[in-house]
């Protein structure tokens, strides 16, 4: 069974940002993920609120499953299913990535040791050894796995000694994964180094020297603003080869995403649409250059559907949107569902938000291809940047 995994760069302008494509061949099946893109967020093996028929209405290409969702029982019963994770979770047509931690909800766990990583589960903090991780991944058999990282995310000011240890452990665990993850599962290396420039460079260069399929850059805990986080990640990116994809965690809202892409990130974690759904927000940011000119679109990133003013608003969430919710339902109905705490509220909001997020990335790719990405970013930031850190995003609080 030959399986191949390749990353092609389609457009690589003079700047850092790029347009690419991951092509994954397994068992004679071809799956493609166009980049820039995101990994749809899952909780306990499902995209929140979406049954498979509703998920299939949305052009998602890849999904990420955090293993810690299942580690309250070890071995996880689902890992004993004989036909692998794609089939068990009914994700056969998606490119499937596994990581240990939940990228959308980094809960504080305990300390790690040379052999043990601590994670957060339904039963509280649990421990897993680096070789058990590999064993579980081999039975789930996803398309790609992110190798374990000795994270310093929750340590306020880790000293140089701690950072060096974190880099060394992460590299050791990567070596073990590369030697023991079975053929057909691609291994992504985690690049660490916290806020230390030399260690970030060392981690990036040493990871790049190994036979990894791509890289993971974790922005969580690296600064309060996306700018600060990016400045640190850039040190790593500058030491990574161009021909392999880069995943980043901790960039969520559209302005952060645009900044991240600008610095050369290819793939993001997809927790943003879920978070907005839980708040009762619909994503409505504009996707077209032309729309920046017309002023009838609302100058807000989000529509807060709990607001009483939608009670008799019989328009769809976003009139240009082709998602299931917008084709079939009104703001007034979704407002009603939220007020009455009916579960269909989050089904419809998630359908729209996830769909809109896919369209956002699709437009970004088009803009890069047609060489107008910079104009798009300028206009987008001009329009939204003032508001994006303000209350409209975190209205729920």
């Amino acid at each position: 069974m030959a399986s191949t995994f390749s990353f092609e760069l389609i457009v690589k302008p003079d700047r850092c940002f790029r347009l690419g494509r991951i092509i994954c061949w397994r068992n004679k099946e071809r799956k493609v993920m166009s980049t820039p893109n995101f990994l749809a967020y899952t909780v306990r093996g499902s995209v929140p609120h979406l049954t498979p028929d509703n998920l299939r209405e949305i052009p998602v290409e890849a999904l990420e499953i955090p293993l810690e969702n299942f580690l309250d029982i070890q071995p996880p019963p689902s890992s004993l299913y004989p036909h692998g994770a794609h089939k068990f979770f009914n994700f056969e047509d998606f490119m499937l990535f596994f990581d240990i931690r939940d990228p959308g909800e980094f809960k504080k766990a305990s300390f790690n040791t040379d052999k043990i990583v601590s994670v957060s589960t339904l039963q509280g903090v649990c421990k897993i050894t680096s070789d058990t991780y590999v064993k579980y991944i081999n039975s789930y058999n996803p398309d790609a796995v992110i190798s374990l990282a000795d994270m310093t995310t929750f340590e306020k000011t880790p000293g140089l000694k701690r950072i060096k240890k974190s880099v060394n452990r992460t590299l050791d665990w990567l070596d073990y994964a590369l030697a023991n993850i079975k053929e057909g599962i691609q291994v992504f290396g985690a690049v660490v180094g916290h806020n230390n420039h030399e260690e970030r460079i060392r981690s990036a260069q040493e990871t790049a020297n190994k036979n990894v399929a791509g890289f993971l850059l974790n922005g969580h805990g690296l600064g309060a603003t996306s700018r600060e986080r990016l400045d640190l990640l850039k040190i790593s990116i500058n030491n990574l080869p161009n021909d392999k994809p880069r995943i980043a965690y901790g960039f969520e809202n559209p302005v952060d995403i645009l900044r991240g892409i600008f610095e050369g990130i290819d793939i993001f974690d997809g927790s943003y649409p879920s978070k907005k759904t839980e708040e009762g927000n619909a994503l409505i940011f504009t996707l077209e250059n032309e729309e920046f000119i017309s002023d009838d679109t609302e100058k807000s990133l989000l529509l807060y559907l709990h607001d009483e003013k939608y009670k008799t608003d019989f328009r769809p969430l976003l009139s240009s949107c082709k998602c299931y919710a917008c084709r079939n339902h009104t703001r007034a109905y979704i407002h009603h569902l939220l007020r009455t705490r009916e579960m269909l509220a989050t089904v419809l909001l998630m359908s729209h938000n996830l769909y809109h997020y896919t369209q956002f990335f699709k437009k970004i790719r088009e803009h890069i291809e047609k060489n107008r990405f910079i104009t798009f970013v300028d206009q987008f930031c001009q329009r939204y940047d003032d508001t994006c850190e303000s209350k409209t995003i975190y209205q729920i609080q």
Partner: protein, 398 residues
Amino acid sequence: MKSALTWEIVAQCSRTKARVAKLKLPHGVVDTPVFMPVGTQGTLKGLTVKQLEDLDCQIMLNNTYHLGLRPGKEVLEEIGGAHEFQNWKRNLLTDSGGFQMVSLLKLACITEGGVEFQSPHDGSKMLLTPEHSISLQNSIGADIIMQLDDVVSSLTTGPRVEEAMLRSIRWLDRCIIAHKKPESQNLFAIIQGGLDVNLRRRCIEEMKKRETPGYAIGGLSGGEEKDIFWRIVTLCTDLLPKTKPIYCMGVGYTEDLIVCSALGVDMYDCVFPTRTARFGNALTSKGTLNLKTSKFSQDFRPIEEDCDCLTCKTFTRAYIHIHSTRETVGCHLITIHNVSYQLRLMRNIRQAIIENRFPSFIIQSFKDLFDSVDKYPKWAVNALNSVNINLTSESKNP
């Protein structure tokens, strides 16, 4: 009175009183006997209208009391009714709101004018009259609407039962006068009279004269003896006109649906199949599975092998176990299965009646449902006996 439905019986069981009919309503045909899932607030437990259409659900319930509170009459009128509001292109049935009020609001009290209650918003005194109920149901616009009746618990005895029955007749007359859209909405009368055979007779006699498009058997499923329940049901189906649909309110368990269909009931509703999904309970022809329990954590079979619903086609019990009661997806998947189970059961009942093998269908269903003959509920044995099916002896000699 005017009617906005046609009712055509297509098959009749040669032994029992069961029948299959095509009920043509303004939003399409409903095949009866039918189970109607309950979508209280204009939505059915997280299922999309597309999923309900895919399950071939032909009619769903909404609750008038809830829709009256939220989104409210004005919003519904502005958009043109509950079909438009929830984008449901098939049939709807609404209750009068009276039962919900009496059961949800402890302080409700009934006078000749209507149901008096305290507003859940500001505590002020409000009155739901037959006229209000119909006016609200006219705004909602369901294909079948129900009269406001004077609801007493089926355990009540004495003169209050008779009073409620007589008042329900008077209120029916007020509902008929208040009804503004008889050409597009069918008003059903509700037979009252508690567990008293004579009161039921008198009620039916009077209500028959009003010639409503259909009739409901009310005031049951309130904790009364099942052996009395079925006797009232069968009395009503005997006395009501054979040319109109009969709706037994609040019935939804498998054995109840089978028995009542044999007694000649055509329509049912119950919150149970959708409510129980929330607690991880999946219905099967062999009883209920609680998928929360850890024994399913490594059970890689579907909920039911021969179920063709989305859930059973794509997921194992182990998968649903991970989700049940934790993620909404788990609840959605069980709800899809449970609605599919109810609709499939009714489809099978209809098919058996059409092919004139309903008696053997009943025998087999009870065999599947209960471990042994001595576990068959006594009331079901008696009820079926009254329509010429000897459940115990026929189960032994296949």
